[in-house]
């Protein structure tokens, strides 16, 4: 919003300036990028530099202009076949921080992600054990072995799930599990 007010200010006072784009930015942002040239809109309209595969066109050049780069820029306006490999690389590095190969290179971050995740899971296991020992009340009687056996005997006697479930695995003639 401050940018838009400055824009109206420029039109009202007829301040000499190069482009509308340069004026539609606060002076604080301009101090952050130093002497770097703004070369486009960027991915969000701010004068930032990000190496992105999905938006490979940063708003500003990477390096501030130096006399060597400026002479190379003049040479770049002519036939590119006259540029040497070193000059082409220098021009690239002046405008960009890393090459695609460099910023797409694997970082191995997945190893720390999985490792830290497992560490937190182990801590959770310890916390659960602490809760079991110090916090939880004892289990009810129905969890005891004799109670669970009696419950299973009752389930079989009532022939629960007789077609495909538990009672289907019981042989009622022999009064034992089916072989």
């Amino acid at each position: 919003m401050a940018g838009k007010l400055m824009l109206f200010g420029k039109i009202a006072h007829n301040i000499p300036g190069s482009s509308i784009q340069r004026c539609a930015m606060s002076s604080y942002v301009r101090t952050l990028i130093g002497k770097r040239e703004i070369v486009g809109f960027g991915f969000n309209g701010e004068p930032n530099y990000v190496d992105r595969t999905d938006f490979p066109l940063p708003a500003i050049r990477w390096k501030e202009p130096s006399p060597d780069v400026l002479t190379l820029r003049e040479k770049e306006k002519g036939d590119w076949k006259l540029l040497s490999i070193e000059e082409k690389k220098a021009l690239y590095r002046a405008s960009f921080c890393q090459t695609f190969a460099e910023f797409k290179a694997p970082t191995g971050e997945w190893k720390s992600v999985i490792g830290l995740g497992l560490v937190f899971i182990s801590v959770a296991f310890w916390i659960f054990y602490g809760m079991k020992v110090f916090v939880y009340s004892p289990l009810p009687d129905s969890f005891k072995k004799e109670n669970r056996e009696a419950q299973l005997r009752r389930i079989i006697d009532l022939q629960m799930n007789p077609v495909e479930g538990i009672a289907s695995k019981w042989d009622y003639e022999k009064d034992d599990w089916k072989k």
Binding site: R154, D157, L158, Q159, P162, V163, E164, S168, Y172
Partner: protein, 80 residues
């Protein structure tokens, strides 16, 4: 610029989403058909056979008496 002697096949440059969706739709169709055939002819028929097998020689009165005599019902007494 860089030296590439063997000829690399030209990659697909346009219609990438279209190709991806066509491939995904094909795989979806195949897996749907396979799953449906399995569920109907293998799983479903097996289940029907299990039920038929169970009810072929099922005597409900015998099972009822067995449970009653074990004292499992509240409304019916066991035999003496």
């Amino acid at each position: 610029m860089s030296e590439v002697s063997p000829k690399v096949a030209k990659p697909q440059l346009r219609g990438l989403l279209h190709t991806q969706i066509k491939k995904n739709l094909l795989l979806t169709g195949i897996s749907v058909v396979v799953a449906a055939v399995y569920m109907r002819f293998v799983f479903g028929d097996q289940r029907k056979r299990n039920y038929a097998e169970f009810y072929k020689n099922y005597d409900i009165d015998k099972e009822f008496d067995r449970m009653r005599n074990k004292g499992l019902f509240e409304s019916c007494e066991p035999d003496e």
